[in-house]
Protein backbone atom coordinates (compact mmCIF):
# COMPACT_ATOMS: atom_id res chain seq x y z
CA UNK A 1 0.00 0.00 0.00
CA UNK A 2 1.35 3.43 -0.85
CA UNK A 3 1.48 6.20 1.75
CA UNK A 4 -1.09 8.11 -0.33
CA UNK A 5 -3.60 5.26 0.00
CA UNK A 6 -2.74 4.49 3.63
CA UNK A 7 -3.49 8.04 4.79
CA UNK A 8 -7.17 7.64 3.93
CA UNK A 9 -7.45 4.61 6.20
CA UNK A 10 -7.09 6.99 9.15
CA UNK A 11 -10.52 8.44 8.33
CA UNK A 12 -13.21 6.53 10.24
CA UNK A 13 -15.97 4.66 8.42
CA UNK A 14 -14.61 5.42 4.95
CA UNK A 15 -13.19 3.43 2.02
CA UNK A 16 -11.89 5.48 -0.85
CA UNK A 17 -12.03 3.72 -4.20
CA UNK A 18 -8.37 3.36 -5.07
CA UNK A 19 -6.84 1.93 -8.24
CA UNK A 20 -6.15 -1.23 -6.19
CA UNK A 21 -9.80 -1.55 -5.14
CA UNK A 22 -10.94 -0.84 -8.70
CA UNK A 23 -9.04 -3.94 -9.82
CA UNK A 24 -10.50 -6.08 -7.02
CA UNK A 25 -14.03 -4.83 -7.70
CA UNK A 26 -13.89 -4.95 -11.48
CA UNK A 27 -16.37 -7.80 -12.02
CA UNK A 28 -18.74 -6.52 -9.32
CA UNK A 29 -18.78 -3.05 -10.85
CA UNK A 30 -19.21 -4.50 -14.35
CA UNK A 31 -22.24 -6.43 -13.12
CA UNK A 32 -23.65 -3.15 -11.79
CA UNK A 33 -23.13 -1.50 -15.18
CA UNK A 34 -25.11 -4.28 -16.85
CA UNK A 35 -28.14 -3.06 -14.88
CA UNK A 36 -28.20 0.16 -16.90
CA UNK A 37 -30.21 -1.79 -19.50
CA UNK A 38 -33.91 -2.29 -18.77
CA UNK A 39 -33.88 -5.86 -20.17
CA UNK A 40 -31.05 -6.82 -17.81
CA UNK A 41 -32.82 -5.27 -14.83
CA UNK A 42 -35.83 -7.44 -15.61
CA UNK A 43 -33.71 -10.59 -15.95
CA UNK A 44 -31.92 -9.82 -12.68
CA UNK A 45 -35.17 -9.22 -10.81
CA UNK A 46 -36.65 -12.45 -12.16
CA UNK A 47 -33.81 -14.63 -10.81
CA UNK A 48 -31.00 -12.81 -9.01
CA UNK A 49 -28.92 -15.90 -8.29
CA UNK A 50 -29.01 -17.13 -11.88
CA UNK A 51 -28.09 -13.68 -13.18
CA UNK A 52 -25.17 -13.40 -10.76
CA UNK A 53 -23.94 -16.89 -11.63
CA UNK A 54 -23.47 -15.77 -15.23
CA UNK A 55 -20.91 -13.19 -14.08
CA UNK A 56 -17.27 -13.69 -13.07
CA UNK A 57 -17.83 -12.25 -9.59
CA UNK A 58 -16.49 -14.03 -6.51
CA UNK A 59 -18.93 -15.94 -4.31
CA UNK A 60 -18.39 -13.31 -1.58
CA UNK A 61 -19.29 -10.53 -3.98
CA UNK A 62 -22.38 -12.37 -5.18
CA UNK A 63 -23.52 -13.01 -1.63
CA UNK A 64 -23.04 -9.35 -0.69
CA UNK A 65 -25.23 -8.36 -3.65
CA UNK A 66 -27.93 -10.86 -2.70
CA UNK A 67 -27.79 -9.53 0.90
CA UNK A 68 -27.78 -5.89 -0.35
CA UNK A 69 -24.87 -5.47 2.08
CA UNK A 70 -23.38 -2.28 0.66
CA UNK A 71 -20.56 -1.96 3.20
CA UNK A 72 -19.32 -5.44 2.26
CA UNK A 73 -19.71 -4.68 -1.44
CA UNK A 74 -17.50 -1.61 -0.91
CA UNK A 75 -14.96 -3.69 1.04
CA UNK A 76 -14.88 -6.08 -1.94
CA UNK A 77 -14.08 -3.33 -4.43
CA UNK A 78 -17.52 -1.92 -5.19
CA UNK A 79 -17.90 1.82 -5.69
CA UNK A 80 -21.05 3.65 -4.73
CA UNK A 81 -21.85 5.10 -8.17
CA UNK A 82 -21.62 1.62 -9.68
CA UNK A 83 -23.55 0.10 -6.77
CA UNK A 84 -26.23 2.75 -7.33
CA UNK A 85 -27.39 0.70 -10.32
CA UNK A 86 -28.39 -2.06 -7.88
CA UNK A 87 -30.46 0.15 -5.60
CA UNK A 88 -31.92 1.97 -8.60
CA UNK A 89 -33.08 -1.44 -9.83
CA UNK A 90 -34.63 -1.96 -6.38
CA UNK A 91 -36.39 1.40 -6.74
CA UNK A 92 -34.47 2.96 -3.84
CA UNK A 93 -33.05 6.46 -3.65
CA UNK A 94 -29.48 7.27 -2.64
CA UNK A 95 -30.80 8.39 0.75
CA UNK A 96 -32.55 5.09 1.38
CA UNK A 97 -29.63 2.97 0.22
CA UNK A 98 -26.92 5.05 1.87
CA UNK A 99 -28.67 4.95 5.24
CA UNK A 100 -28.32 1.14 5.30
CA UNK A 101 -24.54 1.52 5.60
CA UNK A 102 -24.71 3.60 8.76
CA UNK A 103 -26.40 1.25 11.19
CA UNK A 104 -29.23 3.80 11.50
CA UNK A 105 -32.77 3.22 10.34
CA UNK A 106 -34.01 5.38 7.48
CA UNK A 107 -36.10 7.68 9.70
CA UNK A 108 -33.26 8.39 12.10
CA UNK A 109 -30.89 8.95 9.20
CA UNK A 110 -33.35 11.31 7.49
CA UNK A 111 -33.80 13.23 10.77
CA UNK A 112 -30.03 13.54 11.14
CA UNK A 113 -29.81 15.01 7.64
CA UNK A 114 -32.69 17.41 8.31
CA UNK A 115 -30.81 18.63 11.38
CA UNK A 116 -27.66 19.51 9.47
CA UNK A 117 -26.15 16.09 8.77
CA UNK A 118 -23.56 14.04 10.59
CA UNK A 119 -21.28 16.32 12.58
CA UNK A 120 -17.58 16.09 11.68
CA UNK A 121 -16.70 15.84 15.40
CA UNK A 122 -15.14 12.45 16.05
CA UNK A 123 -15.23 11.48 12.38
CA UNK A 124 -12.05 13.13 11.10
CA UNK A 125 -9.17 10.94 12.24
CA UNK A 126 -8.76 7.68 14.09
CA UNK A 127 -5.26 8.51 15.31
CA UNK A 128 -6.12 12.04 16.43
CA UNK A 129 -9.45 10.98 17.89
CA UNK A 130 -11.21 14.08 16.50
Amino acid sequence: MTSYTAEFDDIPGTRVFTAQRAKAGYELNQFCMSLMKEANRERFKADERAYLDQTKMSQEQKQAVLDRDYNTMIDLGGQIYFLAKIFATDGLSYLQAVSTMTGMNIDDYQQMMLHGGRSPEGWRSIKDGN
Binding site: A88, T89, S93, W123
Partner: protein, 282 residues
Amino acid sequence: MARITHGLTTSHIPAVGAAIDLGKTAEPYWKPLFAGYDWTKAWAKENVPDVIILVYNDHASAFTPEVVPTFALGCADQFPPADEGYGPRPVPVVQGRADLAAHLAEGLILDEFDLTLMYAMEVDHGLTVPLSLVYGQPDAWPTRVIPFAVNVVQYPPPTAHRCFMLGKAIRRAVERFDEDLNVHIWGTGGMSHQLQGPRAGFINTPWDTAFLDRLVKDPDSLAQLKHLEFVREAGAEGIELVMWLIMRGALGPEAEELYRFYHVPGSNTAVGHIVLQSVETP
Protein backbone atom coordinates in the same frame (compact mmCIF):
# COMPACT_ATOMS: atom_id res chain seq x y z
CA MET B 1 -12.40 36.75 -29.64
CA ALA B 2 -14.19 34.51 -27.23
CA ARG B 3 -14.28 35.39 -23.54
CA ILE B 4 -15.15 33.65 -20.30
CA THR B 5 -17.28 36.20 -18.50
CA HIS B 6 -18.99 34.29 -15.69
CA GLY B 7 -18.62 31.22 -13.54
CA LEU B 8 -21.24 29.25 -11.68
CA THR B 9 -21.00 26.35 -9.31
CA THR B 10 -23.70 24.11 -7.99
CA SER B 11 -24.20 20.72 -6.42
CA HIS B 12 -25.62 18.13 -8.81
CA ILE B 13 -27.62 15.85 -6.52
CA PRO B 14 -29.57 13.15 -8.41
CA ALA B 15 -32.59 13.41 -6.08
CA VAL B 16 -32.87 17.09 -7.06
CA GLY B 17 -33.24 16.01 -10.68
CA ALA B 18 -35.86 13.45 -9.66
CA ALA B 19 -37.76 16.12 -7.68
CA ILE B 20 -37.86 18.35 -10.78
CA ASP B 21 -38.81 15.50 -13.11
CA LEU B 22 -41.59 14.27 -10.80
CA GLY B 23 -42.99 17.74 -10.08
CA LYS B 24 -42.10 17.76 -6.37
CA THR B 25 -40.28 21.08 -6.18
CA ALA B 26 -43.06 22.78 -4.18
CA GLU B 27 -43.08 20.08 -1.48
CA PRO B 28 -41.97 21.33 1.96
CA TYR B 29 -38.77 19.28 1.90
CA TRP B 30 -37.65 20.65 -1.48
CA LYS B 31 -39.13 24.16 -1.54
CA PRO B 32 -36.33 25.96 0.33
CA LEU B 33 -33.72 24.28 -1.85
CA PHE B 34 -35.32 25.31 -5.12
CA ALA B 35 -36.07 28.81 -3.81
CA GLY B 36 -32.31 29.21 -3.46
CA TYR B 37 -32.06 29.09 -7.25
CA ASP B 38 -34.74 31.70 -8.02
CA TRP B 39 -32.23 34.54 -8.22
CA THR B 40 -30.03 32.54 -10.56
CA LYS B 41 -32.92 31.53 -12.81
CA ALA B 42 -33.87 35.20 -13.29
CA TRP B 43 -30.25 36.18 -13.83
CA ALA B 44 -29.66 33.32 -16.27
CA LYS B 45 -32.66 34.37 -18.36
CA GLU B 46 -31.05 37.78 -18.90
CA ASN B 47 -27.54 36.44 -19.34
CA VAL B 48 -27.66 33.56 -21.79
CA PRO B 49 -24.14 32.69 -22.92
CA ASP B 50 -23.26 31.35 -26.36
CA VAL B 51 -21.61 28.34 -24.77
CA ILE B 52 -21.21 26.82 -21.32
CA ILE B 53 -18.13 24.76 -20.57
CA LEU B 54 -19.70 22.49 -17.99
CA VAL B 55 -17.27 20.75 -15.66
CA TYR B 56 -18.82 17.73 -13.98
CA ASN B 57 -18.14 14.14 -13.15
CA ASP B 58 -19.66 11.08 -14.67
CA HIS B 59 -21.20 8.68 -12.14
CA ALA B 60 -20.51 5.32 -13.78
CA SER B 61 -22.71 6.21 -16.75
CA ALA B 62 -20.50 7.01 -19.74
CA PHE B 63 -17.38 5.58 -18.11
CA THR B 64 -17.48 1.93 -17.16
CA PRO B 65 -14.92 0.08 -15.02
CA GLU B 66 -13.04 -0.43 -18.29
CA VAL B 67 -11.87 3.14 -18.77
CA VAL B 68 -11.07 5.93 -16.30
CA PRO B 69 -10.11 9.17 -18.06
CA THR B 70 -8.87 11.86 -15.69
CA PHE B 71 -10.07 14.68 -17.95
CA ALA B 72 -12.49 14.06 -20.84
CA LEU B 73 -13.66 16.78 -23.22
CA GLY B 74 -16.98 16.42 -25.07
CA CYS B 75 -16.25 17.04 -28.76
CA ALA B 76 -19.52 15.75 -30.26
CA ASP B 77 -22.47 17.72 -31.67
CA GLN B 78 -24.94 16.17 -29.23
CA PHE B 79 -24.92 14.42 -25.86
CA PRO B 80 -28.05 12.40 -24.95
CA PRO B 81 -29.13 11.87 -21.32
CA ALA B 82 -27.95 8.54 -19.85
CA ASP B 83 -30.12 5.82 -18.32
CA GLU B 84 -28.70 5.62 -14.79
CA GLY B 85 -30.93 2.75 -13.76
CA TYR B 86 -34.22 4.63 -13.45
CA GLY B 87 -34.57 5.33 -17.20
CA PRO B 88 -33.07 8.44 -18.87
CA ARG B 89 -34.09 11.81 -17.34
CA PRO B 90 -36.81 13.53 -19.43
CA VAL B 91 -34.55 16.43 -20.38
CA PRO B 92 -33.49 17.84 -23.76
CA VAL B 93 -30.51 16.41 -25.58
CA VAL B 94 -27.49 18.62 -24.88
CA GLN B 95 -26.32 20.44 -28.01
CA GLY B 96 -22.54 20.69 -28.11
CA ARG B 97 -20.26 23.18 -29.81
CA ALA B 98 -17.83 20.97 -31.70
CA ASP B 99 -15.75 23.76 -33.27
CA LEU B 100 -14.91 25.34 -29.92
CA ALA B 101 -14.35 21.89 -28.40
CA ALA B 102 -11.85 21.02 -31.14
CA HIS B 103 -10.11 24.33 -30.54
CA LEU B 104 -9.98 23.62 -26.80
CA ALA B 105 -8.62 20.12 -27.44
CA GLU B 106 -5.79 21.54 -29.49
CA GLY B 107 -5.04 24.40 -27.14
CA LEU B 108 -5.15 22.36 -23.93
CA ILE B 109 -3.16 19.39 -25.19
CA LEU B 110 -0.44 21.67 -26.58
CA ASP B 111 -0.55 23.39 -23.17
CA GLU B 112 0.36 19.94 -21.74
CA PHE B 113 -3.06 18.87 -20.41
CA ASP B 114 -3.39 15.38 -21.89
CA LEU B 115 -7.14 15.14 -22.38
CA THR B 116 -9.31 12.25 -23.47
CA LEU B 117 -11.54 13.38 -26.34
CA MET B 118 -15.12 12.10 -26.44
CA TYR B 119 -16.89 11.96 -29.83
CA ALA B 120 -19.86 10.01 -28.48
CA MET B 121 -20.96 10.32 -24.88
CA GLU B 122 -24.12 10.14 -22.80
CA VAL B 123 -24.36 12.62 -19.95
CA ASP B 124 -25.76 11.84 -16.52
CA HIS B 125 -27.19 13.80 -13.58
CA GLY B 126 -23.79 15.39 -12.95
CA LEU B 127 -24.35 17.51 -16.05
CA THR B 128 -28.12 17.62 -16.46
CA VAL B 129 -29.17 18.49 -12.89
CA PRO B 130 -27.25 21.80 -12.93
CA LEU B 131 -28.88 22.69 -16.27
CA SER B 132 -32.32 21.88 -14.82
CA LEU B 133 -31.66 23.96 -11.70
CA VAL B 134 -30.71 27.01 -13.74
CA TYR B 135 -32.95 26.66 -16.82
CA GLY B 136 -35.93 24.71 -15.51
CA GLN B 137 -37.77 22.38 -17.90
CA PRO B 138 -37.52 23.88 -21.42
CA ASP B 139 -38.10 21.94 -24.65
CA ALA B 140 -34.53 22.73 -25.61
CA TRP B 141 -31.62 24.05 -23.51
CA PRO B 142 -31.15 27.76 -24.30
CA THR B 143 -27.42 27.45 -24.95
CA ARG B 144 -24.72 25.17 -26.28
CA VAL B 145 -22.82 23.09 -23.75
CA ILE B 146 -19.36 21.56 -23.91
CA PRO B 147 -19.21 18.77 -21.33
CA PHE B 148 -15.91 18.47 -19.47
CA ALA B 149 -15.81 15.31 -17.37
CA VAL B 150 -13.35 14.92 -14.49
CA ASN B 151 -12.59 11.69 -12.70
CA VAL B 152 -13.45 12.16 -9.03
CA VAL B 153 -14.68 8.58 -8.60
CA GLN B 154 -11.46 6.58 -8.58
CA TYR B 155 -8.47 7.70 -6.50
CA PRO B 156 -6.34 9.49 -7.22
CA PRO B 157 -8.46 12.11 -8.91
CA PRO B 158 -6.55 15.10 -10.29
CA THR B 159 -5.11 17.36 -7.61
CA ALA B 160 -6.76 20.66 -6.69
CA HIS B 161 -3.68 22.39 -8.06
CA ARG B 162 -3.90 20.60 -11.41
CA CYS B 163 -7.57 21.53 -11.69
CA PHE B 164 -6.83 25.18 -10.95
CA MET B 165 -4.05 25.23 -13.56
CA LEU B 166 -6.37 23.55 -16.06
CA GLY B 167 -8.93 26.28 -15.51
CA LYS B 168 -6.30 28.91 -16.30
CA ALA B 169 -5.37 27.01 -19.46
CA ILE B 170 -9.04 26.87 -20.49
CA ARG B 171 -9.21 30.66 -20.18
CA ARG B 172 -6.12 31.10 -22.37
CA ALA B 173 -7.46 28.68 -24.97
CA VAL B 174 -10.91 30.32 -25.11
CA GLU B 175 -9.30 33.73 -25.63
CA ARG B 176 -7.47 32.38 -28.68
CA PHE B 177 -10.78 31.43 -30.38
CA ASP B 178 -11.46 33.91 -33.17
CA GLU B 179 -15.24 34.15 -33.01
CA ASP B 180 -16.83 36.61 -30.57
CA LEU B 181 -18.44 34.32 -28.04
CA ASN B 182 -19.67 34.84 -24.53
CA VAL B 183 -18.61 31.74 -22.64
CA HIS B 184 -19.63 30.73 -19.13
CA ILE B 185 -17.90 28.04 -17.13
CA TRP B 186 -19.67 25.93 -14.55
CA GLY B 187 -18.11 23.77 -11.87
CA THR B 188 -20.44 21.22 -10.33
CA GLY B 189 -20.64 18.69 -7.51
CA GLY B 190 -20.09 19.08 -3.77
CA MET B 191 -20.27 20.45 -1.26
CA SER B 192 -19.60 18.29 1.80
CA HIS B 193 -21.16 14.85 1.57
CA GLN B 194 -20.36 11.20 1.96
CA LEU B 195 -22.41 8.44 0.36
CA GLN B 196 -20.66 5.38 1.73
CA GLY B 197 -19.81 3.53 4.93
CA PRO B 198 -20.72 4.22 8.55
CA ARG B 199 -19.62 7.87 8.10
CA ALA B 200 -22.29 8.51 5.44
CA GLY B 201 -24.33 11.66 5.98
CA PHE B 202 -21.20 13.64 6.87
CA ILE B 203 -21.71 17.43 6.51
CA ASN B 204 -19.26 20.18 7.46
CA THR B 205 -20.93 23.57 7.14
CA PRO B 206 -18.11 25.71 8.61
CA TRP B 207 -15.59 24.15 6.21
CA ASP B 208 -17.94 24.58 3.24
CA THR B 209 -18.54 28.23 4.14
CA ALA B 210 -14.82 28.91 4.33
CA PHE B 211 -14.37 27.12 1.00
CA LEU B 212 -16.91 29.44 -0.65
CA ASP B 213 -15.20 32.50 0.82
CA ARG B 214 -11.78 31.36 -0.36
CA LEU B 215 -13.13 30.36 -3.77
CA VAL B 216 -13.97 34.01 -4.37
CA LYS B 217 -11.05 35.78 -2.70
CA ASP B 218 -8.20 33.33 -2.29
CA PRO B 219 -8.44 30.46 -4.77
CA ASP B 220 -4.65 30.03 -4.80
CA SER B 221 -4.82 28.74 -1.24
CA LEU B 222 -7.53 26.22 -2.15
CA ALA B 223 -5.33 24.94 -4.95
CA GLN B 224 -2.89 23.78 -2.29
CA LEU B 225 -5.40 21.50 -0.53
CA LYS B 226 -4.57 17.79 -0.52
CA HIS B 227 -7.08 15.07 -1.30
CA LEU B 228 -6.82 13.92 2.31
CA GLU B 229 -8.17 17.24 3.58
CA PHE B 230 -11.10 17.14 1.16
CA VAL B 231 -12.08 13.65 2.34
CA ARG B 232 -11.43 14.41 6.02
CA GLU B 233 -13.26 17.74 6.08
CA ALA B 234 -15.81 17.48 3.25
CA GLY B 235 -16.54 13.73 3.15
CA ALA B 236 -15.53 11.09 0.63
CA GLU B 237 -17.69 12.57 -2.12
CA GLY B 238 -16.75 16.15 -1.17
CA ILE B 239 -13.69 15.50 -3.34
CA GLU B 240 -15.93 16.72 -6.18
CA LEU B 241 -15.03 20.24 -5.05
CA VAL B 242 -11.75 20.01 -6.96
CA MET B 243 -13.90 20.62 -10.04
CA TRP B 244 -14.92 24.02 -8.71
CA LEU B 245 -11.28 25.05 -8.98
CA ILE B 246 -11.34 24.47 -12.74
CA MET B 247 -14.20 26.97 -12.90
CA ARG B 248 -12.35 29.42 -10.67
CA GLY B 249 -9.06 29.13 -12.55
CA ALA B 250 -10.90 29.95 -15.77
CA LEU B 251 -12.28 33.23 -14.36
CA GLY B 252 -8.88 34.89 -14.01
CA PRO B 253 -7.27 36.33 -10.88
CA GLU B 254 -10.21 38.41 -9.68
CA ALA B 255 -13.86 37.55 -9.48
CA GLU B 256 -16.87 39.33 -8.08
CA GLU B 257 -19.47 37.34 -6.17
CA LEU B 258 -22.93 37.98 -7.60
CA TYR B 259 -24.90 35.42 -5.63
CA ARG B 260 -24.46 32.63 -3.10
CA PHE B 261 -26.73 29.95 -1.66
CA TYR B 262 -26.06 27.18 0.85
CA HIS B 263 -28.57 24.68 2.16
CA VAL B 264 -28.59 21.43 4.13
CA PRO B 265 -29.84 18.89 3.25
CA GLY B 266 -30.33 18.01 -0.35
CA SER B 267 -30.76 14.29 0.16
CA ASN B 268 -27.35 13.32 1.66
CA THR B 269 -25.59 16.49 0.60
CA ALA B 270 -24.79 20.08 1.52
CA VAL B 271 -26.01 22.15 -1.41
CA GLY B 272 -23.64 24.92 -2.41
CA HIS B 273 -24.17 27.38 -5.23
CA ILE B 274 -22.34 30.52 -6.25
CA VAL B 275 -22.39 32.83 -9.26
CA LEU B 276 -19.24 34.77 -10.07
CA GLN B 277 -18.32 37.39 -12.61
CA SER B 278 -14.83 37.62 -13.98
CA VAL B 279 -13.18 40.98 -13.21
CA GLU B 280 -10.96 42.03 -16.08
CA THR B 281 -7.63 43.25 -14.80
CA PRO B 282 -5.72 45.57 -17.11
